[in-house]
Each structure stands twice: as structure tokens, then as C-alpha cells.
Symmetry: C2
Amino acid sequence: MGLDTNRVEDNSGSGHAQPETTTVSIVVPPETMEPRELHGVCLPPKKTSFQKLRHKLSEIFFPDDPLHRFKNQTRFNKFLFALHYVFPIFQWAPTYNLTLFHSDVVAGLTIASLAIPQGISYAKLANLPPVIGLYSSFVPPLIYAVLGSSKHLAVGPVSIASLVMGTMLNDAVSYSLNPVLYLKLAFTATFFAGLFQASLGFLRLGFLIDFLSKATLVGFMAGAAVIVSMQQLKGLLGIVNFTTKMQIIPVLSSVIEQRDEWSWHAILIGFSFLACLLTTRQIGLRKPKLFLISAAAPLTSVILSTLLVALFKSQLHNIATIGQLKKGLNPSSLDMLYFDGEFLAVAVKTGAVTGLLSLTEGIAVGRTFAALKNYQVDGNKEMIAIGLMNMAGSCSSCYVTSGSFSRSAVNESAGGKTAMSNIVMALTVLVTLLFLMPLFRYTPDLILAAIIVTAVIGLIDYPSAFRLWKVDKLDFVACLSSFLGVLFVSVPVGLAIAVGVSLLKILLHVTRPNTYVLGNIPGTQIYQDLDRYQEAQRVPSFVIIGVEAPIYFANSNYLQERIMRWLREEEDWIAANNGTSLNYLIIDMTAVTAMDTSGLAMVNDLKKMLEKRSIQLVLTNPVGSVMEKLHKSKSLESFQPEGLYITVGEAVADISALSKAQF
Amino acid sequence: MGLDTNRVEDNSGSGHAQPETTTVSIVVPPETMEPRELHGVCLPPKKTSFQKLRHKLSEIFFPDDPLHRFKNQTRFNKFLFALHYVFPIFQWAPTYNLTLFHSDVVAGLTIASLAIPQGISYAKLANLPPVIGLYSSFVPPLIYAVLGSSKHLAVGPVSIASLVMGTMLNDAVSYSLNPVLYLKLAFTATFFAGLFQASLGFLRLGFLIDFLSKATLVGFMAGAAVIVSMQQLKGLLGIVNFTTKMQIIPVLSSVIEQRDEWSWHAILIGFSFLACLLTTRQIGLRKPKLFLISAAAPLTSVILSTLLVALFKSQLHNIATIGQLKKGLNPSSLDMLYFDGEFLAVAVKTGAVTGLLSLTEGIAVGRTFAALKNYQVDGNKEMIAIGLMNMAGSCSSCYVTSGSFSRSAVNESAGGKTAMSNIVMALTVLVTLLFLMPLFRYTPDLILAAIIVTAVIGLIDYPSAFRLWKVDKLDFVACLSSFLGVLFVSVPVGLAIAVGVSLLKILLHVTRPNTYVLGNIPGTQIYQDLDRYQEAQRVPSFVIIGVEAPIYFANSNYLQERIMRWLREEEDWIAANNGTSLNYLIIDMTAVTAMDTSGLAMVNDLKKMLEKRSIQLVLTNPVGSVMEKLHKSKSLESFQPEGLYITVGEAVADISALSKAQF
């Protein structure tokens, strides 16, 4: 297929006028064209500042055009869409049937068997009474089932947010010395977490969570998993007096210092169950069909270990157990919310951090399964759902909840089809709360520790970290710094470092952009990087430079120096090879995606500097916004008529023809 | 000139083999080519991670390749270049002659006549004894003359750095209550300013000052000018008890509250001289040939006002004057440097901020005149020179100095040709210090106030601010926020806000990049934005989307949503116009200048999502680094052979030909 054979539908201007003309139409060969048949560089369509601002704001806050379904609809349909939007349950409930229900019941029971032991364990991770973990597995899933748009998200307490809440609150208030205040702060933090999440969604600022990149999260999760696992040594080794610090160094030294407290009973039972749990987890991972084994393992372990302790309680009296739990539904915690006093700042800060982290997990899980099952999840809408669920939770004795990755995966494997599986799970938890609480009396703490270790070990994602190292060294640095920050300093610092590194990466890319010299690929109008394309050839008396970044204040000095250096190097090359002297410097502006006033000043300075050396500056293919700025700053005029072309090809061809005509 | 007429020198591969062949050579017309004559997309040349890191680091720290002159030189030449590099005075001194000297003497005397009154005034602005201003106009210019590479920079105290030093130190220590400690802190801050400046240059981190964009500086300077002028109301109105705060509100209220202290003598004399100074300034601006009038005005005013006060001292006894000044050269201030104690942090912070600000001014002035007179100034080298000059200054009773914009402009207008004009100026100051100090006894403070107001009023750059508003609204916001921040909060806060806004702008550009649908310009291989180019036409069964940004964690979710929305909108358009259904989505990657692991995941997800809708994803012209990442992550394989093309044109032509061949 040749160069001038175009397959262009002859749809004049605005519309596909002849939809049948899909055959290839041969365009008049260019030989028959007049010389200087040029294509001018257009300015973008004129817009007022207000229109531009509106466009910009709508791109920032409404990139998905959420109201597009409401266009050209009857009032009733609009109402229906609005109802579906606010309460997604109305979307699937009318067509819900028994087959779906059957799948959802199986899935719901399966995740309940995970959620109950995990709920109790994660509550302990947050230094909260175990029953709070069960409360948190009851109210929030029900609310999410009504408001949430993911079909696979399994809602409940999650490990990272539990850990972070435990650390941050314990830094301010000791849960052993002042349990009531600690509980108050936990509920208040949950309220603020929900408020923060719902506000992010409501203000359509959901994109802010994108700043926690996957690379950062891989490191963060791994660091948190290590810290959480280390904490579990308390339960697994049977240590009574354990450090309240979280960093790896004090924890390890505490483990070693308290060697005399190590209980061989606890170690034997704890590590045996841990080995079983890890084995079943491996089986579940290797043979996805056997996922039920790994899904049922935690509950089975709880039952077995409880039986063991109950039967041999005289011998195993030194093993810590959960103890008596209060039967009954979630009590109201409205009176526990704490809106003034010296610890309010701690609660707000804890709420913001745990809210952000649990939101990131929830949204990521929702998006993953939506992509897998090919449906859409509206991020901002989900944030409102998760936020409202946490605000409601904070009034009914629940702490921060979100969509858990491990339980959602089990939900999907077990055949969960709609949010009904969350309802089934919540009802199972309800039954537990009402009738089964006394059964946990002899459940040993060590089994909870083993369950936590098994759950969080999956957060350490070696393959991803290795892939980051292989594909993108800077992403790996972001990952490593968040890992080390969490491990050695603290969770919020680790997060801050990681976000900082990620932002630095963006800034570095803009501050030191890539530039290169282009050459022509013979027989084509294609101009490409001389270093990359061996067949590309220099065009005599031209230097063609590609710039791969917006020209901003942060790089305009660099780019000016760099372009002058390219020029110097080309001149050196020409001197060494007896080439034609340079008359034109073309900057290919295709990838210069924006320009500010410093960039404009740089281009004008460069033009003047080159003119003093009898070299003409030519710009090709500036993007719309750059054209607009060149126009507004009146710089454009100095480039017309022979300093501005639509492509490098046209520039070289036209300038060569003109200079030939002159001689 | 047609499309397939190329002017390519036949320089096979690496070299300009036939330098004479500059004639236009007609390439074989594409009709005679075989079908599917395609140009594969190349990977960049292979480099090890170490080579890449080296390249990256050299681009960050040595973009100007400072050692290029040392290549292939004799040892003697290398030594000579090194000497020239470290001491630029050796570059011009050997060829220095009487003509140049004559110019430099005139220029030196002219700037001295400005430097003496300004030195005294700016020292008062920094709450320092007036004589420190003269000391600072003696030692630093001499050192700069040896080390500096700018030919026009006039070195001495500058208004902004003086103001900032005065504010920041006075927040910690009152200069009236504890003058010795205040002076110690000033010298220590100067030392750290110099250390900071020299380190920036030595570590080749000079690019950091680029983050103070021009837009930011316009606002910052204007804000500082307003604050400085307001402070001068103390002198101009003859107020004795004035607020020590700097923000505009306390200053204005202090002016009004102390109404009973207003002195009508001071007001009359002060505003008369101010009017004269402003008038001569205007004359100098409007008629550059009369610059001498504005250059001589400050010294003339000082002499006249001193005479006036000396002659009528009985009537004008309530007008504050400079008083007795100590004759003699700069005393050593080594014993005044203060390296421990509670105020060290204040000194370091003040040093960093004033160092940064004075450096920014000095480098900007140096660059401006270098560009004007067509010579090069090495930013990092200049930073070392300015830094060493301040470190030396801090040991000889000088405070922070830099290149002053106004005096450098006068230097250039007066015909200054080399750094010799700084030496002449320093010698004039020396004469003043040794013999003329008693003459300043009756110089009134109000004339210093008038000189300061005249000098700083030029920093308010309305036209630039207006131009920012017209050309780039976001730059204007950065400008305005630094202006308001300085005016209402404080100088460091104003600076921080402005840098924050500038960085936010970069992040916003990356977070919400521009995307658009491309169409073909009939008769060409050119594909352009359909909105911008009216002649561009849709290609049936293709959607071609351009993305104008690197695909990063911060925008990968947005871009995925946005691309799916473009697809939906195109499908709606096709449905409304009975067009051909879509089979291919081409992403033109020319302006996607980088990709991280989140971006890779997005592209792979998008490919899967599109495959479920029977649409094939095609990438065109990915840049080198993106190709490399696609390759390393093994994503590339899934795009070959028919998902990757060098241009949109080849992609459309080849895919159309292939699908035609299939039917």
C-alpha cells in the first residue's frame, strides 16, 4: 500500500453523508498538485474565557459526563435513572430471580465464614473489643447493598485501616488505660473517615486517590503486612507484656527481650494452625477450584482451636482467650461521638488517613472486579456509598469498613452475582450476634493472630515488586520508599514519602524532558529519532529537534540550553563530516502539550539567538493550546508565513522548494 | 510541492558521505512500491540500567555538557580553560584595553552614584546601620569581578533580600533592643545565604531556582514593592513610633493611628524629593538617552537634602538624620558569626530565603543581559560566584548582596563593558568610606525613604501582569496568589503559595490531559484534531484518539474513562448518522511522552475491554521510552503484528488494505 493511497470516507465536513462508501477511494496523486499546496496550522475554535473555564472544570470534575444518560429522556425515565443512580439496588432488584439468589446465598455464607473470624481478628488489630468487628460486619454491608454499585465487593473491616487506626489512636490514648475514650475516638474517627470519603465523592474529587499509585500501594501494603505480622508474634508466642510501638525495630527487640514470657503451648498450637492456614491458602491459590478449602479454613480453625482450649482448659489455662462476649445487636453509639476536646484533632486525622486508605482499597477492588466482569463502577458514586456506610456505621458501634480484597475474591469465586451476597453475609453475622456469641468464650487469641498473618501475608506482592524493578526503576523506588517508610517510621510518613516520590517523578519528567534529533525515513514523509531509527537520515541544512514535554517555567531554561547544545553538536558533526551548513532549526512541537508564559519567552529568545547566527527557527504542528498562546502573545506573527508548518515533512519540502526557487 | 517529493541527502546511515549532493532528489513514487511496505516501530538502542542512570543523571545535572570544551585539547589548553572557567577575569583581562577601560570608568562612576545612596537606604530596609550598606558595596563587587562571568551585573545590596532579611530577623530579635545580636544574626544569615548559593551551584542544583517562575516573581516583586513602600511612610511622614510588622493591614493602621506624629516639614521635603525622583525616573524610562538624569538623581537628592537640613538645622531639628558615621574600611566580622545558640535556626532560615531570592534576581539579571548582548552565562557557575562573594562578605561586615536589576541596567546604559565597572564602583565606595563619611551626618532619613520608594516602584510590573492575564490565566493566578500572600501574610508564605500554585499547574496538566479525536486531511497522510481542522474527516470504522500527556498513575483512570467516553460519543454519532460501525480504536501515542506501570496496566485493561466489544486497539508512534516499557512488560507482543504502527497514516492504510484483502 503506497503513501498517497488514502482510505477516507467522503463525508463532507460534519456528517457521514454516504455511509455506504466504505470502499477504498484513491485520492488524486500528489504529482498533479500545484506546488506550495500547504495545509495551514489552525487555531482551535474560538471560545470565551468562561467557556474555557467551564470546559476545564467539567474535565476536572465530570470527565465521565455522568449526566449523559439523562439527555433527551422523558421525565419518568430521568426519575428512574436518578433512582438507579442513587440506589443501585433498584437497578438489579426488579430482575432478581431465584437462580441469582441461590448463587448469592452460597457466596454470602462463604464470605460470612471468613468475615466472622476476620472481623474479630481485625478489631483486635485496631485494639478494639472483638464484638465491634462483628458489629462492623453487620450494618455497613446492608447499607452498601442498597447504595453500592459493585456486584462483588464484600464489605467489612479491613486489615490495613484497622492497623492504622490502632496505631494512630494508640499514639494519643492508651486503649488499656482509657478504653472508653479510646472507643469514643474510634467511632469519631470512623465518622470523619465516612464524612471525608463521602465528601470526596460528592465534591467529585475522587481522582485524588489516584495519587496513591499502584507502585506506592504495593510497597505500602507489604510494609503494613510485615508490621501487622510482627505484631501477631504477641499472640503466637503468648507474650503478655508487649511493646505498644509499631515500628519493626522496637517490636523485634520486645519479642527478644520478653523471651521468658514465650509460652510453648501457645507456640505449638499457634504455629500448627498457622501452618494449616497457610497451606490451605496455597491450595486455594494454586487450584482456584478448591477455593472453598481456603475459604472455610479460618472458621474451621476457630472452631477446632476453641474446642481444643475448651476441652483442655485446665492444662491450657495460660493461653489468652477472647472471653465472654455480649449477645445482641449493634447498640447505638451516637452518644459516643466526640466533637470537642483535646483529642478531636487526633480523631479527625485518624479518620482522614484510615478513610483514605480504606477508600483506596475499596475503589481498587471494585474497579478490579468491574473490569474482570465487564461492568462500570462510578468511582465518585462508590465513594459516596462507602462514606455514607461508614457514617452510618459510626452511629451503630462500627469502626471503619471498606471492600476487602480477599473476601471480595472469595465472593466472586463462590459465585456471588449481586450485592445480595452482602445481605446474606450480614444476616449470618446477625444470627451469630444474637445466638452464637457464647461459643467464642474459649477462642484463643493465637488463632486470631494466625488468621491475621494468613490474611495479610497475601498483601506482600513480590512478583509485582519485581515487575516494577524490571519495567520502571522509578516506580520501584516509590514502592521501596513507601515500604521502608512504613516499616521504620510510621504509616502516615510512609504514605507521605511515597506520594512525594510519585509527584517528584512527574516533576522530574517535566523538568528534564527528553529531546532528540529527527531524521527522514527515505521514501516517506516520516521523520523519526535518528538514534532510534537506523534508516532515518539527516536532512542537509536542517536540524530537526523533537521535544517531549510541555514547555513550562520549570524546564524552559533547560530546554533552551539543550536545544543550543543539540545545535552545537550538529555543527560539530557537520564540521567533522564536511556537511552543508545549517540554515534552519525545526522544533517538532507535536509532543509539546502545553506552554506557559515562560515557555513563550523561551521560544522568542531562542528565535532571536538563532537569528543572530543566521538560523531560522521553524515550528511544526503546535497543539491547539500552544497555538492559542502563541496567537494571544502576538508571537505567532513573527513565525508567519515561513516559520510554521503542519508537519515536519511539509516544512522541509516547502522551505527547500522556496530556497531552490530563490537561486 | 507534492507529498512524495523528498529532499533527503543520500548520506548512508551514519555520515554525510556526499556533502555536495544538496540538490533535490526525487524518490521513487510510492505507486511502484510493494503493498505492505511498512516501517516497523523501533525500540531505542539497548542500554544497560547503569548507562540509562548515567544518561539520566547527566541530563539532570550536566545538561549543558560543561566539559565539552575540554575534549581533544592539549594539557595546557585544558589548564587555560579551567582557569578561565574558575576565574573568568583571566578570560577578558589579557585583551583588556584603554577604550574598554574608559567605558568602564564612566559606567563604574555612574553606578557608584546610585550604589552609595541605595546601599545606605537598603541597609536601613534591613534594619542595619547605614554603613553596612556601604561595606556591602565594596567587598562583594571586587570578588564578583574576579569570579563572575556576567559583564553587566552591578553587584551590591538589593531591595527584596534586604526587606526579607529585615522582616525575618526582626520577627526573632528586635534590632532596637538587641542591636549586637541582630547584627550577628545578619552576618550569620549572610554566611548561610552564601553557603546555600554556592552549594546549589556546586551540586549543580541550579535548576531549582527555575521553580520560581516568572509569573510567580512578578506577583512576588509587586507585593514586596508595595510592602516596602508602605514601610517608607515612616520616614516620609516623619512618624517616630511605627509598627514593626510588615503586613499591609497593621502598617496602614499604624500610619493612621500615629496621625499626631506626622511632621509637616518631613512630609513637604520628603514628597517634594519623591516627586523629583519619580519624574527623573520617568524621563529615564521614556528617553533612554537621558538615563544619566535618572542615574544621577538619587545622589543629587542626597546632596541637596543634606545641604538643606545642614543649613536649616535649627528649624528642621525634628527631622531624623543618619547621624555620625564611622570612617574607615570594612572591619572583619569573623567573630560576629554565630554558629550555636537558640537563634541559629532563624539565621539559617533567613539565609536560605534571602539567599534564594537574591540568587534568583542575580541569575535572572545575568541571563537577561547575556541574552541581550549575545554571550553565555553558566547558571551554576554564577551561583558559585555569588555564593562565595556572600560568604566572603559575611566575614567582612557585609550583608546579603546580589546583582541588582536597576543598577545593572544603568551599568549597561552607561556603557559598562566588563566586570571592571564593578571594580571602579568599589573603589569609589572605598573613597567614600575613607574620606566622605562625615558628609552624611545631616542626610535625612526621608530622602532614603524616597530613594527606596523610587527604586522599588519599578518592581511593580503592571504590563507583565496584564499580559499574564491575557495569555495564561493559570500563570496569572500564580502571580496573584504570590502577590496577595506577600501582602497579607508574609514573604515566605507568599513564596510558598506561589511555588505551590505553579506545581499544582504542572500536576493538573498531567492529571487531566487533553484528548481529542483525529481525522484525515484529504489528499494527505496527515491526521489532525477534528475540532480544530475543519477539513479533517472521520475515517469510517476507525476512531483515532490523540492523548497529550504521559500516561501515569495520576491520569490512567481518567484516560481510560475519557477514551471510553470518546468511543461512546463516536458510537452515538454513528448511530445518529447511520455510519459504519467501529472496528478499530487507534491511539496516537506521539505526545504520550512517558508511561509508568499504572499506564501499562491501563493500556492492557483497555485492550481487553475493547476486545470484549470486538474493537481492536492499535497504537501508533509510541516514543522510545514507552516502546521500551511495553517491551519489558511483555505487553508489546499482544500488539504485534497488527496493533502497532509508526504513523496513523500507515495504520489506517495497512489495516484497510488487510481487511479488504480478507473479503
